[in-house]
């Protein structure tokens, strides 16, 4: 009975939404004077970052990213609050096989380096703080899965987290004090496509990278704590 109702109404919604979206032509630039093309035009010269998406995420719409980071921070604190020292469930968890353990030991540092590379070159190559942090977290996940006794020191995680978050806000405040608005780009842009270019963007992205990396590992760690 519930299935039937759900299917009917979802069908109706699907039909109408698809009908409206069909009116929107796919694949052609619908709005010529749209914000997107302005960003493309002034992306490189004004922000100095080759990767326009990063310049949007960090510079043009930096406030969103700040909000973004707080959301993730919220999720971490929320989990911490809710799963506060509850006695972990009893479930058997044996070690991974020898191949995985050996492989993990080799791969772990490489993954961390890759993650670092990604978020350091955020403004040049595709990817950035979030993607880099995720890669680092996947590295730690690999270690958690392979070694039963492996766990991360929670105090360090939360310290890194707060430091990274506060550096983000401090850079913003710098913008406010020196530049004329919050999160304004204060440092020199430098030459395009070189490591030290695009002013504040790489710094912010490194902070974000650290933050996301530590937070996701923190999430995984609290989740693992729920199981002995």
């Amino acid at each position: 009975m519930r299935k039937a109702i759900a299917v009917i109404f979802l069908g109706i919604i699907g039909y109408y939404l698809l009908a409206t979206f069909f009116n929107i032509p796919f694949g052609i630039a619908r709005v010529l004077d749209g914000v997107g093309f302005k960003y493309l035009a002034m992306g490189v010269p004004d922000t100095g970052a080759a990767n326009v998406v990063t310049s949007i995420v960090v510079n043009f719409r930096g406030f969103d990213t700040l909000g973004e980071v707080t959301v993730l921070f919220l999720a971490a604190t929320g989990m911490g609050a809710l799963l506060h020292h509850r006695e972990p469930m009893k479930r058997s968890r044996q070690n991974a096989s020898i191949i995985v353990k050996a492989g993990a030991r080799i791969l772990f540092p490489l993954i961390i380096i890759l993650g670092a590379y990604v978020f350091v070159h955020g403004h040049l190559t595709p990817g950035g703080g979030f993607q880099g942090g995720a890669i680092i977290a996947s590295g730690f996940l690999l270690m958690f899965m392979s070694y039963r006794s492996y766990h991360v020191n929670h105090v360090v995680i939360s310290r890194v987290e707060s430091l990274a978050g506060s550096t983000f806000v401090i850079i913003g405040l710098f913008g406010l004090v020196y530049g004329h608005s919050f999160l304004a780009n204060v440092l020199p842009l430098g030459t395009v496509n070189t490591l030290f270019s695009a002013g504040v963007i790489p710094l912010i992205y490194i902070a974000v990278g650290f933050k996301v990396g530590s937070e996701l590992t923190g999430l995984l760690d609290t989740m693992l704590k729920t199981v002995k």
Partner: protein, 619 residues
Amino acid sequence: METIPLILLILFGSALLSYVIGKINFVLKVGVALAGILVSGYYFLQLYGQAQSYTFRLLGFDIIWRINPLSWFFGMLIFGLGILVAIFSTSYMKNKERVDFYCFALCMTIASMFGIVVSGDLLSFFFFWEIMTWASFLMVIYYRYEAQAAGIKYFVMSMIGAYSMLIAILMVYAQLGTFSFDALASGWSDFSVSFQIALFVLFAIGFGVKAAVMPLHTWAPDAYGMSPAPFSALFSGVLSKMGIYGFALLMFVFGAGKLAGSVTTIHGVALPSYILAWFGALTALIATLIAVMQDDAKKLLAYSSVGQLGYIILGFSLNSSMGTTAALFHAVNHTIFKGMLFLSIGAVFYRTGTRKLSEMGGLISNMPYTFFVVLLGIITMAGIPPLSGFVGKWLIYEALLEKQMVLLAVVAFMASTAAFLYCYRLIFTIFLGQRPPRFDDVKEVPWTQRAPMLLLSLLTIYLGFYPYGLLNLIGQAESTVMGLVPMNLSQSILFNDLGHVSTIAVMNTVGTVFVIVFVLFNTLYKRSRKVGLKDIHTSGEVPGPEINLHYATDFYQPFSRSIRYVLERSADRLYGQFANNLEGFFDVLRYVYTGNAQTYALFVIMFLAMLLMFTNWLI
């Protein structure tokens, strides 16, 4: 500082002050309340002839506070009875607890009533109306535990009344864009007929609840019964008059009376007000019949005051100058004798501690003053000639006959004869007959309680003898505010083209005849021997002390059998059932929240789908 806002400030101030200072000691709190009312009463007297008005803007609406003869007339009632009740309660509340709460509610009610009478526009009228409602609600729930049901019933019914009035007020505001009375008065005639009738009905419901017209009266007996005695005097004496003031405004100042032109008329009165007249008459009759059967003194007086209010509404709805004079005069009468009776019942309660008629008896020798007050009270209430009650009744009958309303006159007459029954029951079961042994040492109430009662009773005698002073005041109010030709009182007798009564002649004849007969009867014979209460004709054997010779329980048993039909239909039970199955319906409605998260999600999806379909179909 103009006097009107000054009076209001003093009253509200004394209310708050008496509550705050009250914490310190007893004398202060009642003293502050009494002082507040006295001072504002004094200022009020100064307002007599003046037509002051004080306007200011609040929230974009303009507020007018003005005094005119009609409002001064009702203000007189408020302060008259208010001061007496305050004096009465100084001693009545001597050893009671939470007296500061009592004084706070008393002053707030008086202040808000004065506010209603003084307000010149519908917004402040409604503002003070609501304050009056909840201030008197606080008073009804004074006796904490058993008063809660009565209190909530009262509050809900007056809320319903107030909100129907609010809708009417705002419909006026929507049409005219202003709240002031005179704008409404001038604009009333050019409303469409159906709009006028809608306004009339809504306002009538609002005022009807407060004036306890029959279908809306169920709160009155409980509310009057539950509130402390001095306040129930104020409650039924003056608070119900606010409903009457409302009707006066509706019928004459707003001009609902002029409705006649556009609507089918019977005996020269517009149909809606004719129906209102019938409501008033039936209220008078049925409430009186129920009052006869009551065993609790306060409930009896409550139903009787519902009945008397029916008379007043009857007077107003005749839409003639005689009718209005009758209604206003009877309003003053009602305030006086209802105040007297409630205060004396309070005095009896103060001494004996019980309000049940069947438990009392034979208090005449213990409390002679209270007996005298109650005697005069019931004579006026029954409308027997020498006293002022008769004048009120006479005016109403003249008005009815003038309009050829035959059936209404008969119902009114029947109601007043039936009124005679509960008057006698009241005085007999409390003061006459045998006295239960436990009340032997009951003393008379202290002077602070006796003085207000006696003052009121002297007032009835004075009005019975010379009502023309009051009638002039009413005439003044009618001619200036209501646009009616007042009764001509040229030869200082009640004159009407149908008949006339010279109240002075009546009082003189009754007085002289009584004196002559009394003198003749007493001088010819030496004093007769006084015998004890129990020494009566019981054919021989002397009744023992334990036999109850006081016939008080089920006093009108045969009469109740003959009007069984009326007693079974109680509007109260009807409302009770209605409220219960309404709440049952709410219960069903509540099951929409099934508690299952997925169902809520389904609701969201259905909402979205419905919306999409609807808008798609729309565009």
